[in-house]
Structure formats: C-alpha cells, structure tokens
Amino acid sequence: MSSQLQALLSEPLLLGLIWSIFALGVFISFRILSIADMSVEGVFPFAAVLAIWALKAGWNPFLALLLAIGAGMAAGALNGVMGRYLKINPLLAGIILMTALFSLTVVVSNGNISLEDGATTLFTPFEDLFSGISSVYWKNFCGDLLLLALVTMVLFVFVYWFFGTEIGAAIRASGKNEQLARAEGLNVHVYILLGLAISSGLVACAGALYGMRQSFATINLGKGTLIIGLATIFLGEIALPKMSFKAHLLSILIGGYLYWLIMSALELLPNYNANYRYLIQALFITLVMLVPTFKKNVVGLFRKGKEVSHA
C-alpha cells in the first residue's frame, strides 16, 4: 500500500474517533437540548492548551485530561447559568463564553504552546504497548487507535447509559419540551445546566486528546470546529438513518470517519483550493438539512397516487 493511501485510510479513523467525541458533545447540546452552543469553539482549544500546559508543568497525563474535562464542564455549567438563570439568549451566552475563553486560551498558551520531543502524553504508554511492531507508523497507529477506541467506547456507553437513567431522561425532556417538563414538576434550569456541562466536558475531552496527540496547539484551533461537529452528526444521519438512540449515537462514530475521509480525499484532489472549504461545508450542511423537506414535498408528489401520505 502506498504511504499516500495508507495515510488517507488510517488517519481519518483516528481523527474521526477524536472528533466523534467532540460531535457527541455537540449532539447533546444541539439535538438533545436544542441549543446551538457556540461555546464549543472556545472550549475545544482551551482544553487542548490546558492539557499541554499541565503536561509541561509535569502533571500526570491522565490528570491533565481530567483537568481539561473539569474546566470544560465548568464552562458548560457557566453557559447554563448565563442562559437559564441570567436569562441571556442561549446562542448569545455561547458566543460570550467562546469570546471569554479565547482570552483564557491566549493567557495559558501565549499564542502557541508545544511539547518537547518525546514528551510523555496519554498516548505514549499505549504506543509503547505495540513496540514489537517494526514500522513506527503502525506502532503509533495501533497505540492511538487502542486508546481512542477505549476512551470513545467508555464515553459513548456512558452517554447511552446516562440518558437512559431518570436524570438523563429528565434532561431529554427538558430539552425537547420545556413546558411539559416543567408541568411534570422538573427543575428545567438544573437539568439543562447539567446537560450543557456534560456536553462541554465531552468537547473538552476531545480537545485535550487532540492537543496531546499533535503535541502542540495554537489559539486558532477553535476556528470552524462547531461546523465540523454538525457535519459529523449530519453525515452520520445520512449514512445510518436514525432509528433508535443507540443507532443515533453509533451514526456519530460513522459520521466522524466519513467527515475526515472526505476532507482528506478533497485535499488530495489536484487544484483543490482550501479557501473554498468553509463554503463547501456550509453548502453541504444546508443540502443535508434540506433532505427531509425535499423528501416530503417532491418525492411525496410522485407517490401520492400510490400510497397514503403520512405528512
């Protein structure tokens, strides 16, 4: 296999896993809580630089990850406080938080923070497990894949389990139909706040893993990340049309791989101009969002005679 094809097929798998954790966070805020949470663009780079900062300060890599997740959860909770208790429009609250986190990211990183060669990260012990493999590429790939698969599995199982519990169900109810949830006697504010904290905690976990894996991070890392998360969710929904909550979670993993496969393949096209990338992403997401409307209005017209429309 040429190194080109090898990189094209294996790298999206690892990136896909990291970004599916990110997309899982976005999924919770966007699909479960019905909030377009912009603060992820601040939480992701902040978690990345915080994790690298902690590693540089001599922290245990696992504690560095926990620190980043904790900071992310705190940011999510703050987002909830701003949106629910201070009555700031949720979209605006996210933007304010994103802006504030940008400054904190600059303060922690001074713009650009990097690890020394061979510094120990969370990935190192896993990569060392495969030291028997002679190719460094595959050694690192297997180690990274094992760690990321473990973390992703734990988080996805946790989310699946958690949203099946009483508290989780209350969060889902609060996000889907606030009036009804309130009528049921639920404290909607607290549940939305908790949901946002979990969402941002997942985003921070992805940020910390991303930062550790590439061993540096700059303040530009957050740019355009929300759209990556949304694209991942939508791609997954196309590939695996949703049936159950479980299938929906699974589709995020597929979406993560597909997104990075498409992006890597696009970059390899001759004359591909990166200036158009955001436009391509925006067009793509708009198209995907139009699919249900298209099915209902256009496809429905042709089927009218054959079957009874359920619309």
């Binding site: 190194s3 094809l5 590439q214 700059t218 990556i228 992006m263 390899l268």
Partner: protein, 340 residues
C-alpha cells in the same frame, strides 16, 4: 434505504483511490508546502522558495512538483493537510510556526524521517521545532528563522525621530508568540533609550481599528513587528496612520514597498524564501541531511524608506533617515522596480 447507506462511503473510497493513483513520471520530486495563511510576507517566502528551486541546476535533471496547502489559519484542517503532505512528498516546507509544528507532528506520528524545513518561524526553539539554533540540530527538522533586528529598529527610531514626544505606540497580536517576543525586546530597548511605550495589544482583527483609535493624537510613531495579523491588516493600519499623520515603522520591508508603512529595518521575506530554498537544494542534491544544516537566520536587513507614501500621507520623513536608507521608494520609481 439500506443500499443508500453504502453509496456515500463507496463514492468517497473511489475518490480516494483516484487521488492515490495519480503518480507521475520517475524524475518527479514531490515537494509539499504548508502555508499557515495567505499574507504578503508568507506569500513572498513561498514564491521565492519555488522560483529558486525551479531555477536551480538540480531542477535541470529533476522535475519538482509543488503541492501547496493553505489551511487559512484553520488548525483543525491543517492536521490532515500535514499528514497528506508528509505521506506524499519527498521534502516538506512549513511556512510560519503553526504550519511547521503540524508537519513535524505529522511526521513524528508517522515515524517518517522526511526532511522538514521551516521558514518564517521567529523562535524555533521555543516552538520545540529544534533544540538548538547555534549548532546542527540533528533529526529531520531545520530551517530559517525570521527574527528581525528589533533592537536596531528602535535605535533607528531614537536616532532619527528625537523631535517626537518620545513615545512609540506598538500594536501586535497577543496570540502570536513571535510578536510577543519581539515586543518584549522593543520595550526593553526603548526603555533603555528613554522612550515610553504605548501598548496597544490586540487579540483579534476586529480590535485593530478600535485599539488604534485609542492612541492619543500627540503620539506620532507607530511600530508593529513581523506579526501575521498586522501584516494582513496593514492597509487598515496605514489608513489610520494617514488620517492621524503618524509615522509607521514595521518589521517587514515588503509592507513598506506596498505603501502600508513608511520605513522598516526588517526582514526581507523574499530573501528568506531564497535562503530556505538553498537549504532545500542541499538536501535534494544529497549533499547534506536536514539535521546537518544549522538553523539559518535572516542576515539581510535593508533599511527601506517609502518617500512616496510619506508624501501621500502628508508627513515629512527626516532627511537623515532617507540618507541612511538602503532603498528609497519615491514617485520617480515605478513600484515594480522598487522591490529588489
């Protein structure tokens, strides 16, 4: 429904396979370039790097195939670009700090010892690209630093603008470690020379205009270092300076040639591109490995003065400064021949 789910991945794999198969003839040598963002100084490095390689003797027997990727500051996508470039090239060049770090990170993950050259990186040791700049770095990474003569620039301001009220306003992006480092040097040397500094640090492009507007009228000297954000907003800074009739000194002479600043004792990014291309040719010719090439520093710091812009802005540059200049851009000269 079931079949539909498979169409997309298969289509993507087809594209992938197609992309994987476009290998060229045997004399082709693939050179990957990762440029952080389109900005005049970085473009100058890129253009001159490519043209120097194309004009070399080496290119008579080999066909360099350049692949340029520009993530437009988007770090998340930069990672896949770096991975692709490292996998598909015989040599890669990173332009600016983040891009160079991404290439190094991608190569180290892939266990690839591909030669990596960096350019337009102010502090390669601080960025963990190399461990030393005084000796051969070893490993597979080396390149050229764009550290400019900041201290000398401040002495220049002191020598020729003593009539001003001894205050220099500085504007830079706090998010660029290279800028912060240069401003620290500038503040120290201005302090030694008895000048005060008005710090107008910004964290985003939108702040530039508002931050500039808070500079008091009596401050007539503005300095900005080799800062990517300032470079891409240089014409906005120039517009403000023109309204205020301020002198603008910057760290990058190509901005002076573009009428966006009045004078610069700074890095000539065009020659920086040539310098790093020469390092690349040493490697391509098989004379040396990257690790044997010590990190280069810009050595050519011409004093470029733009008389034409000064006239346009309605400010009078001191005659002593013009006399000291290595290159004066004036009305009589067309723009094209001004930059050497």
């Amino acid at each position: 429904m079931k079949t539909k789910a498979f169409v997309l991945p298969i289509a993507m794999l087809a594209i992938a396979a197609l992309a994987g198969c476009n290998s060229g003839s045997s004399t082709d040598v693939k050179i990957g370039i990762l440029q952080l963002v389109s900005a005049a100084p970085l473009n100058a490095v890129n253009d001159n790097f490519q043209s120097t390689i194309l004009a070399s003797d080496w290119a008579k027997t080999h066909t360099p195939v350049f692949t340029v990727q520009d993530p437009q500051l988007d770090e998340a996508t930069m990672a896949t670009m770096a991975t692709n470039l490292v996998a598909n090239s015989s040599l890669v060049l990173g332009i600016a700090t983040g891009a160079s770090q991404a290439l190094k990170s991608a190569a180290s993950k892939a266990g690839s010892s591909i030669p990596i050259l960096f350019s337009a990186v102010t502090d390669p040791v601080g960025a963990n690209l190399v461990t030393t700049t005084t000796a051969a770095p070893g490993g597979n990474v080396s390149g050229c630093s764009d550290m400019g003569p900041v201290d000398e620039s401040m002495q220049l301001i002191n020598a020729h603008f003593s009539a001003l009220k001894k205050t220099v306003a500085v504007i830079y992006n706090t998010g660029e470690s290279n800028s912060v480092q240069q401003i620290t040097i500038a503040k120290a040397s201005l302090g030694d020379l008895g000048w005060s500094v008005l710090d107008r640090a910004v964290a985003s492009e939108t702040e530039i205009t508002t931050s500039l507007n808070t500079i008091p009228d009596e401050v007539k000297m503005l300095y900005f270092p080799t800062d990517n954000m300032c470079a891409s907003n240089a014409s906005a800074i120039a517009k403000f300076a023109k309204e205020r009739k301020m002198f603008v000194c910057c760290g990058d002479s190509s901005l002076v040639s573009a009428d966006d600043a009045l004078f610069s004792l700074g890095v000539d990014y065009a020659s920086l591109g040539i310098q790093v291309a020469k390092m690349a040719l040493e490697v391509l010719n098989g004379k040396k490995t990257v690790g044997e090439l010590p990190v280069g520093f810009a050595t050519n710091f011409p004093l470029v003065v733009n008389e034409r812009a000064a006239k346009d802005w309605g400010v009078a540059l001191p005659a002593s400064l013009i006399a000291a200049a290595d290159e004066v851009i004036s009305n009589e000269q067309p723009t094209s021949s001004a930059s050497v």
